[in-house]
Symmetry: D3
Subunit: 136 residues, 6 copies
């Protein structure tokens, strides 16, 4: 929650890190770590702002945020590394493999077949790594 | 459902039209009508395929489909007419104004501020038309 | 053709202007005119480079170039003013209204329904202005 | 054609598979096969809808559909796997290597140099695999 | 600067508002005001995060930030309202009309002619409102 | 400068090559070389038009052009190979590693976190190759 009366930069980071770890698991931490020698500030902002200030707000359930996120990452294109992290995250917050696959099928209507296919093949990779294939 | 043993083109259209009307209300019908003199086949495919074959599948709740759809339309950019239809649809299938606004705030993390702002101003227009302002 | 032994900047412009006029008709000229007080150099490059150096090459028929162009403008999104010019251009170089509508229907497979719809509604406007409605 | 009085789901798939095989060759089949354990329904829709309902319509020649498709895939960006399939398809339906290369050069005008380059390097890979280098 | 030992939410907003006003002038304030009844939190984040946390960092001059921003908004497409604000901002922080026009001409190389034209016509509107036409 | 009274195709190429070499170093030359057997004309246009006609214009400093270019390539998405060339180019024309990293952090506001991350990881690769890590 972002109504605390006063926070240091570190407070906001710590708050975000707790959310990041809960949602993205080690995939999120790896991204932050890999930014350490190039742009630690971008890592800080992902944690403190994206996860601390936005993700943690109570107005939309974590599961619902992942549905919106999967739609966005599929539509943007070229975001396969982020889809990898967020398909893992979707599983972490309670979406089933069947729901994820259905959401990506649904994306074909709005984004076209190529982007739906690209996202679905990322799901295949993630599900394979987690022993969730075949789906259904 | 798409397991019926045999359907005519008209059967598929009728099935999709029922879903379109339920989800999009008159906004969807207006889009189909406006295609009549330029591309009736595109209107047919929106109804028979997008709504009949995909939207009606049981694997993801209508409300969840709208969350994915809002994410995609925001990310694609330049889809304000479709956001208008689908923010209406989101309300029709049970998302609250607060959830919709929160989903669009969430989109800032993944799509950046400009696209989040563009989508939010479409929501402002739709909510205004439906007497739902101010939100919260 | 761009194998002339030596050309001035004006030569290249004149050569491109002949192609622009043939392909885009007055729509193209209007765009160039409207750039005169803000970026005459952009107008020059559209004429001398896009039309003089690229469009005029013999390796692909003008009609075929318009098919590729309609696909690109539909996919990019937010290019409705350019779609207006190039749907007119497509008619000018011999594509039929039915072929244009079919190309935009085809785009739904690769770009999704929203972009296919946006492009089709530009075609409706252009065809209406040229007395070509209803199509088919 | 999609005017058959009544078709089963399997009928539509079979009809589409015949078109897919003719246009995309084994590249298309490989994509469908690779979806079997993650999203067989997406594979079904690519075949039954994209190829059965849309690609097979008589209003635009297969060669012309590929020109539109190359334009769209180049413009979308991040669709290199689909460009691979569809540059092969373009050759299969009668576009020459020279026409394909010229279409991708043309794309630089509308999509900018980076996307034109990305698509051209996919063409280089495909042409190399088919013994078609150097072009011209 | 974001090294203050502890800040309230209001502190961060106030700090960002000072930057927003300096960079965007009244255009920025109007955007925030128009969010008041639909998504005041999005307005807060634009001010507190985008301007307070990022824009105000010392590592890149305001003028340089506007050059990057003009490039991004042109490339994204469909962001004409934001281009309006940021072409004004570019003038506010010291870019000349000639430099802005040149940056948008430069964008044709990377984004293609349609997006370069769309952005240039926004510049024409802004420059006209500020009595800066003709340029050069 | 493009006001020379008359130039051959070769003159324009030679003029552009001098600029390309100065800005992009060997990265640019490699791209041109790799086009030789697939689309030498695209290579010619990159050199003669993009670098000869546009890059070399005096209205915007090379350093400023790279700032705009980094913004565009980050926003477009899927342009990692071009980001590689142009992050090198940015260093070649005088931007510091710190400024480049800051520009990419700034991009998160307008393009969202995924595209900012993708671009930053290209910078990490380039800086690593040039012995510039860690930054700051």
């Amino acid at each position: 929650m972002n109504t605390a009366p006063a926070e240091t930069r570190q407070d906001r980071f710590d708050r975000g890190l707790e959310v990041l770890t809960r949602v993205d698991g080690e995939g999120g931490q790896k991204v932050i770590d890999s930014l350490a020698d190039i742009s630690p500030e971008l890592g800080h902002q992902v944690v403190a702002w994206a996860f601390g200030d936005i993700y943690d707000r109570p107005g939309l359930a974590p599961r619902d945020r992942q549905l919106v996120t999967l739609g966005m990452l599929t539509a943007l294109g070229g975001c396969e590394p982020q889809l990898d992290v967020h398909i893992n995250a979707a599983l972490n917050v309670g979406l089933t493999p069947e729901e994820i696959v259905e959401a990506l099928l649904h994306s074909a209507v709005y984004c076209g077949m190529p982007k739906a296919l690209n996202a679905t093949f990322v799901a295949k990779k993630v599900f394979g790594e987690r022993g969730l294939l075949p789906v259904g």
